[in-house]
């Protein structure tokens, strides 16, 4: 916030972004963040290149084929009618977010969100090209010369390169990746691919390299409503005010204030006011002011403070994950995960129920979908012999990856009552549907007594179970 002051001397039409120069830090949370970043990048960037043998589409393990309206995810083929899975997935994602936030605060924001990951990556590039925080601040303040142009230019060029590859990779999930790469550079890819790549390159660059924490502070809705899920028992990144300030406040380790005993004798707390926790903060806040809405819970200030505490020989944990209740209590205990709460358990129940339902739903999916609809105009007709005819529309969806022939029979009424017309073979192409009309003719007496029967569709492939569908019969 030190840079903020100079903007206040005169009135501006708009609020300028206050540049944040983040100092790098070592520590367990930094290592965890780096681990998550590596894993996420490997998965995201490599997945479109994983080959997978397919009969009806390109040999790509994960392919969201919008043209044929099928999503291929390894051996799972998702059809538009499976859209309920997406709804379930969104429900799971939302409850999981609520569940985790209720337990340990904005862990999603600090460690997993793509805004955090890409910003982290771009800060790493800056660090690599321009150097550590003091070097970057000096570069920022110095006039435009060759060094500044070169260093800033290079880092932004690298960021644009990463942003481009990010945009390309996103598009590669929707087309066969090797082909897209070739077509993109030879000008043969379709318009949608170019628009996607350009838009995503631009947004990734703007969000990760320019806007950064402003995305979280001003734009992201999650960031604003996650505070609602906090409870007094939620573990949040907190500065131990009591320990850090003592009675007389924080103080620099001047001579006479170096050892803990000396400081405590004079009423000063353990915080030596080195400002490291502020310098490493990617959103530019001071955690010592307490919980703030800008805080993305990345825990880097914990790493920074722990390092300082180690170097001055004080115990760690001046900044730590702790709950509001524990910090305020008269005799605090070591921080612990307080999960025995109605809210947390409620989220856990909703979460596991929906995960179970989704797994069950995917596990019991069928390769054939059959729908029978009775033709209602007219409901039935009388034939010359006095027999009664009902008509039905049969809808078969072949969800396998090969062409399948189906056999249609009836159960509960004579086999010969079924009239398929001139059609001799019901053949459905992979991933396609077939809608056709059938007639059921029953003699008068039987028609009077028949109210329900079954259509049976048997896929002519090995091991396929026949699928029965109830249908009602109307006669007089």
């Amino acid at each position: 916030m030190g840079q903020a002051q100079e903007n206040q001397t005169e009135e501006h039409l708009y609020q300028k972004r206050i540049p944040i120069f983040v100092r790098s830090v070592r520590g367990k949370f930094r290592n965890f963040k780096t681990g998550v970043l590596l894993l996420a990048y490997i998965v995201y960037f490599a997945l479109p290149w994983v080959p997978w043998q397919r009969a009806s589409a390109a040999d790509q393990a994960v392919l969201f084929d919008l043209v044929s309206r099928k999503f291929f995810i390894f051996n799972l083929v998702v059809y538009p009618q499976d859209i309920i899975w997406l709804a379930m997935l969104l429900f799971i994602a939302a409850t999981f977010l609520f569940f985790v936030t209720g337990l340990i605060g904005r862990a999603w924001c600090g460690f997993f969100c793509f805004q955090t990951l890409w910003t982290d990556m771009f800060m790493f590039i800056e660090h690599m090209v321009q150097g550590e925080r003091p070097a970057r601040m000096r570069l920022y303040k110095q006039p435009w010369n060759m060094e500044k142009i070169f260093k800033l230019g290079l880092s932004h060029l690298l960021m644009i390169a990463v942003a481009f590859w990010t945009g390309f990779t996103f598009a590669a999930y929707y087309t066969y990746a090797p082909e897209l790469l070739h077509d993109l550079f030879t000008g043969q890819a379709n318009q949608a691919a170019y628009v996607t790549v350009v838009v995503l390159t631009a947004t990734t660059y703007v969000a990760g390299a320019l806007a950064r924490e402003q995305i979280c502070t001003f734009i992201c809705p999650y960031a604003r409503f996650q505070g609602v899920m906090y409870e007094p028992d939620t573990l949040v990144i907190s500065y131990d005010q009591r320990r850090g300030e003592g009675q007389s406040g924080r103080a620099l380790p001047k001579p006479g204030l170096k050892t803990r005993e000396e400081r405590q004798a004079q009423g000063h707390g353990d915080c030596i006011d080195c400002g490291f926790c502020v310098q490493v903060c990617p959103v530019g806040i001071d955690i010592r002011n307490g919980l703030q809405y800008q805080c993305i819970s990345c825990a880097l200030c914990i790493d920074a403070c722990d390092n300082i505490m180690d170097s001055v020989g004080y115990p760690r944990g001046l900044i730590r994950y702790d709950s509001e209740r524990n910090l305020e209590s008269a005799n605090p205990h070591p921080p612990r995960l307080a999960w025995r709460r109605l809210k947390v358990l409620g989220y856990a129940v909703a979460l596991s129920a929906m995960i179970g339902l989704l797994i069950y739903n995917i596990g019991t999916r069928t390769d054939t979908e059959v729908r029978i609809e009775q033709v209602r105009q007219p409901l039935y007709v009388k034939l010359e012999t006095g027999a009664v005819r009902d008509r039905y529309q049969v809808h078969i969806v072949n969800k396998t990856e090969q062409e399948v022939t189906y056999q249609l029979t009836v159960r509960g009424i004579p086999e010969n009552a079924l009239d398929l017309g001139a059609v001799t073979e019901l053949r459905v192409r992979p991933g396609k549907a077939l809608k056709f009309n059938v007639k059921i003719d029953l003699p008068p007496e039987l028609a009077r007594d028949t109210h329900e029967f079954e259509f049976v569709v048997t896929p002519q492939i090995e091991g396929a179970e026949p699928i029965a569908r109830k249908a009602s019969f109307v006669g007089e």
């Binding site: 009135e11 039409l13 609020q15 007219p378 006095g386 005819r389 059609v423």
Partner: protein, 324 residues
């Protein structure tokens, strides 16, 4: 943020103590505002925007224009280029859709009748396209599902308008592909003279013929009267019914004579009557009134294209009913 600490206000004071800060706008907001202004200018150049009295601005000529093929009144195809508008957009999309449909229509036109019905994929097209064609042209009389319109109201002896049921397996004018196609192309006019061919049947004779007709399909009847009716039915000088209904009562499809021996009653609602006397009554009403329709089935040959008639023929033959 620290900018609130200097407490700059606009200087206005409302309601004694209500003041307004002059906090600066966020830069991103300001830029977004400028972008909307740029957007509006670009929009103005590309799309119809400003009203000018009876006209309007149409955007810069040649930018964002739409080219489509239009058919003039005399059937000529001309290419038109206009400024962007939703009507031209619709024309373009309709042309594209018609192009897709044409492939299927061509396939129907090129395939023999019997082979169309054997091909489930082609039948899928016939079902969806035929449904629309049928709804547009035929459903007014035959109903959406082809159930037709049953004529006859015994209470008022009123015949009403009659459109055969196309969903059953009886075909008044023949149920082969060629016969159905001929019916659609040339139209049909059903006719039955009142009171027999000569128009001179007495009341008693009419009752006898009605009983005979009931006997043909096994409905309850008076056997003695039916026997008398049999003679009138077959005597060209009296009833002369056999001319159209044929000697065995099965009807002559080329004349549109109904089959009187089956269980299908389309014109006169015999099965719906409670007792034998009522059944005789409705039949008598039909014989007395005859059948002389002004609302005949019109010719569609001049209105529909041959491939549309072919498609409708298959739809009527295979999707609606049991063609023969």
């Amino acid at each position: 943020m620290a900018q609130q600490s200097n407490n700059q206000t606009t200087g206005h004071v409302w309601d004694d103590d209500l003041q307004e800060f002059t906090n600066p706008l966020p830069r991103w907001w300001l830029w977004a505002f400028y972008l909307t202004i740029i957007f509006s200018v670009v929009y103005w150049l590309m799309y119809p925007a400003w009203p000018l009295g009876s006209s309007y601005t149409k955007g810069v000529n040649g930018v964002n224009s739409i080219t489509y093929v239009a058919t003039t009144k005399d059937g000529q195809q001309v290419e038109k280029t206009t400024h962007w508008n939703t009507r031209a957009e619709l024309m373009k999309e309709t042309n594209a859709a018609a192009g897709v449909q044409k492939q299927w229509l061509d396939q129907v036109a090129a395939t023999a009748y019997g082979d169309i019905a054997k091909n489930p994929d082609l039948m899928q097209f016939v079902n969806s396209a035929g449904k629309t064609l049928f709804a547009d042209n035929c459903a007014a009389c035959h109903q959406v599902g082809g159930a037709g319109h049953e004529a006859g109201n015994p209470q008022t002896n009123q015949v009403g308008f009659f459109a055969p049921n196309l969903a059953d397996d009886y075909w008044q004018w023949g149920g082969t592909y060629d016969e159905i196609s001929a019916t659609i192309t040339g139209g049909r006019t059903g006719f039955m003279p009142a009171k027999g061919l000569a128009g001179a049947l007495t009341d008693e004779q009419i009752t006898n013929v009605a009983n005979y007709v009931l006997s043909l399909s096994g409905e309850p009847h008076d056997a003695d009267k039916a026997k008398l009716g049999d003679e009138i039915f077959h005597n060209p000088a009296e009833g002369g019914c056999l001319t159209c209904h044929s000697a065995d009562g099965k009807g002559v499809p080329s004349m549109g004579g109904l089959n009187l021996t089956d269980k299908v009653w389309q014109w006169v609602d015999v099965p719906g009557q409670a007792d034998a006397a009522a059944k005789v009554d409705v039949l008598r009403a039909a014989i007395i009134g005859g059948f002389n329709h002004v609302e005949a089935m019109p010719k569609w040959g001049t209105r529909l294209k041959p491939e549309q008639i072919k498609l409708l023929t298959v739809y009527v033959h295979d999707s609606l009913g049991g063609g023969k």
